[in-house]
């Protein structure tokens, strides 16, 4: 995973709440066995509408999405994160996220930060006043800015550290392999085993 410190790019006022991962990427695009190339699938249904915000010329190059409450709820499909990333969106700011989506984002280098609903509204107004303007998300300072309006965003310390360092989760866990082995040695015999087949 690449290290992230600051993200700057076209800001998008995504005035929708409860955006579920079925909207981000419909199930028919989940048949593939690859991890890249999902840019066409992003918001597939909504993008059929020429007026959909990501189709508008002023928001081409979309990089930072400012979304409403409960972005990324529903299905665990990590494809939602891959589709956003492949499309070029590298940060999403919203008042609240679906838990699994937020977790998936952290593993895949999509920066997901929370700010209060009123502040998202303020960002929407600022961006709409001058469509196409950039946002800057500073992971070191934990701030997000549009023009001269800057506010802090929330991200848990652990995810922030991993994104800043570009760390692989599995590698981190395997540093504790001895403790995993120790735990396994004490595991009770009644606990489930799938093998041998019974």
């Amino acid at each position: 995973m690449d290290k992230i410190t600051t993200i700057t790019g076209v800001a998008v006022p995504f005035r929708r709440s409860n955006v579920d991962t079925d909207q981000i990427i419909p199930a028919v695009f989940l048949k593939r066995v690859t991890k890249t190339g999902y840019e066409d699938a992003l918001f597939h249904s909504w993008r059929q509408d020429p007026d959909f915000i990501l189709n508008r010329p002023e928001y081409q190059g979309a990089t930072v999405l400012f979304a409403g409450q409960d972005f990324g709820i529903g299905s665990s499909r990590e494809h939602a994160v891959w589709a956003l990333r492949d499309f070029g969106i590298t940060a999403v700011i919203a008042p609240r996220f679906g838990d699994i989506f937020r977790g998936n984002s952290g593993k895949q280098g999509l920066l997901v930060g929370t700010v209060d609903e009123e502040l998202v509204e303020k960002f929407w107004e600022l961006i709409e006043a001058e469509p196409g303007r950039a946002a800057t998300v500073d992971l070191v300072a934990r701030t997000v800015s549009v023009a001269d309006f800057t506010v802090p965003f929330d991200i848990d310390d652990y995810t922030r550290w991993r994104l800043l360092e570009g760390l692989d989760d599995i590698g981190l866990t395997l540093r504790d392999e001895a403790r995993i082995t120790q735990f396994e040695a004490a595991r009770e015999t009644w606990r489930p085993r799938t093998l041998p087949v019974r």
Binding site: R15, R16, S17, N18, D20, D22, Q23, P26, A27, V28, L30, K31, V33, K35, S45, G68, Q69, D70, I73, G74, S75, S76, R77, E78, H79, V81, R96, G98, D99, I100, F101, G103, N104, K107, Q108, E117, D156, D157, Y158, D169, I170, L172, T173, L174, D176, E177, R179, I180, F183, E184, E188, T189, W190, R191, P192, R193, T194, L195, V197, R198
Partner: protein
């Protein structure tokens, strides 16, 4: 989430905290997540190929193939399963799972196998899901397994790879929420109505950061199938997991199943399981109450599972919401659903009825549906699809003659899989079609592009299939004399 913390290792604890603490490999410090051991990993074809690729690229083996099991469910056809899958991309995905399981030594129940089915039906059915364990799967409905007093957590593909490689997951601490449902359900009201009412009450984000524990006399009275229906939809309230404390109902369900503990192991397990219930003086971070006796058959009107009301009510007006975001969401939902505020829910005509999904495809669900449609004919204009949750459920239903009941009713009796719940295989709604569905998500296009979904219980699905409009069994009792007595799915 700096305001959250699991309980200390001493003092009164909740069910969730006990299970969590007993799986702690490394306690996180300074804001790091806890490293939690995973007892059981369920794998399916859709969220695993990229995880296996990751292992290959890093040269890592699967740490515990003996704690891992795979089946094919999301992307499989429910017709002509003995023939090659027509859609080439789907076929490749299925074949990729088979190759991966072979290469990494993972037990697989492929299409056509007697143990094949929806992962969340297969685990409990094999006796692999049991109290006090941690279960993960690359599927958000892993919360289902919480019905046994297990902690079932839905994960993404990166986490699937992580569990395959390490049999652990770094997980942030959670908060606990008690959902207490007291009283007796009226005939015709079921587990599905309870959970739809819970989600309508707390909202799609209301459970965010929490593990829910369902408690109270109405939950105790439910069968395991009913409890699975409830825990299954915990994720629709945004929760990390949903659980029910194990009791005699749990043990009776589990005993004698293929992978349930035996002999001294069984006794040791039960002795431990009996300690799991939340301590009397434990404190939840949040509490929600519902009176079961006041519940009616429930139905969703909108495009998220929180947009639900009693079937006897009318489509709400967006103006009735004070929060501007809720109002806007309601406006958008009504437009997508092509519904006018004020329309009685029971006046809404449907084109299709889907009876299936990991929420409601177990044998009791099929029995409940059959109890209403037996000897009836479906409404002419309605297409009715019945999809069992597993190959075994299908066989069990056929042994009871339920397949004949469905066919005489005019329904299609399919092979096991996720089917129209997520519209990934060919079982999809056409644009504009409206469906009463026993599944778990009414998101835009979930059951097929442009399709419109109303989430309901098996009993409501059955009554709707008969009348052709959203209906409860109560409506039938008047017009056809059907009874719902004894049905408690």
């Amino acid at each position: 989430m700096s305001d959250t913390a699991t309980a200390p290792s001493t003092g009164p604890k909740t069910l969730a905290e006990k299970v969590w603490n007993d799986h702690l490999v490394v306690k996180g410090e300074d804001g790091s997540p806890d490293l939690i051991y995973i007892d059981l990993h369920l794998v399916h074809e859709v969220t695993s190929p990229q995880a296996f690729d990751g292992l290959r690229q890093a040269g890592r083996p699967v740490r515990r193939p003996d704690l891992t099991i795979a089946t094919e469910d999301h992307n499989t056809p429910t017709l002509a399963i003995d023939r090659p899958i027509v859609d080439l991309t789907s076929r490749t995905q299925i074949e990729t799972l088979r190759t991966n399981c072979e290469e990494f030594g993972i037990r697989l129940h492929p299409l056509g196998d007697i143990e094949q089915g929806i992962v969340h039906v297969v685990g409990p059915q094999l006796g692999l899901t049991m109290p006090g364990i941690t279960v993960v799967c690359g599927d958000s409905h892993t919360s289902t397994h919480g019905a046994f007093g297990a902690m079932g957590i839905g994960i993404g593909t990166s986490e699937v790879e992580h569990v395959l490689a390490t049999q652990t997951l770094p997980l942030a601490p959670f908060k606990t929420m008690a959902i207490t449902v007291e009283g007796e359900l009226r005939p015709g009201v079921t587990a599905k109505d309870i959970i739809l009412a819970v989600i309508a009450k707390i909202g799609t984000g209301g459970g965010q950061g929490y593990v829910l524990e369902y408690r109270g006399s109405a939950i105790r009275a439910l069968s395991m199938d009913g409890r699975m229906t409830i825990c299954n939809m915990s994720i629709e309230a945004g929760a990390r997991a949903g659980m029910v404390a194990p009791d005699q109902t749990t043990y009776d369900y589990l005993k004698g199943r293929a992978h349930a503990p035996e002999g001294a192991d069984w006794d040791a397990a039960v002795a431990y399981w009996d300690t799991l219930a939340t301590d009397d003086d434990a404190v939840f971070d949040a509490e929600v109450y519902l009176d079961a006796s006041e519940l009616e058959p429930f139905v969703t009107w909108g495009t998220n599972p929180g947009q639900g009301i009693s079937l006897s009510e009318s489509v709400p007006s967006p103006d009735s919401y004070s929060d501007p975001n809720d109002r806007q969401a309601a406006e958008r939902a009504l437009e997508y659903m092509d519904l006018a505020a004020g329309t009685p829910m029971k006046d809404i005509k449907v084109d299709a009825v889907f009876m299936g999904s990991c929420t409601n495809s177990r044998i009791e669900d099929l029995r409940a549906f059959a109890s209403i449609v037996k000897g009836q004919k479906k409404a002419d204009h309605v297409r009715v699809m019945v999809v069992p949750g597993s190959a075994r459920v299908r066989l069990e239903a056929e042994a009871e003659g339920l397949d004949k009941v469905f066919e005489e009713f005019g329904a299609e009796w399919r092979f096991a899989g996720c089917s129209m719940c997520l519209g990934m295989n060919p079982d999809q709604l056409a644009p504009g079609e409206r469906c009463a569905s026993t599944s778990n998500r009414n998101f835009e296009g979930r059951q097929g592009k442009g399709g419109r979904t109303h989430l309901v219980s098996p009993l409501v699905a059955a009554a709707t299939a008969i009348r052709g409009t959203l209906s409860s069994p109560w409506d039938l009792a008047v017009s056809t004399g059907s009874t719902t007595e004894g049905v408690n799915a």
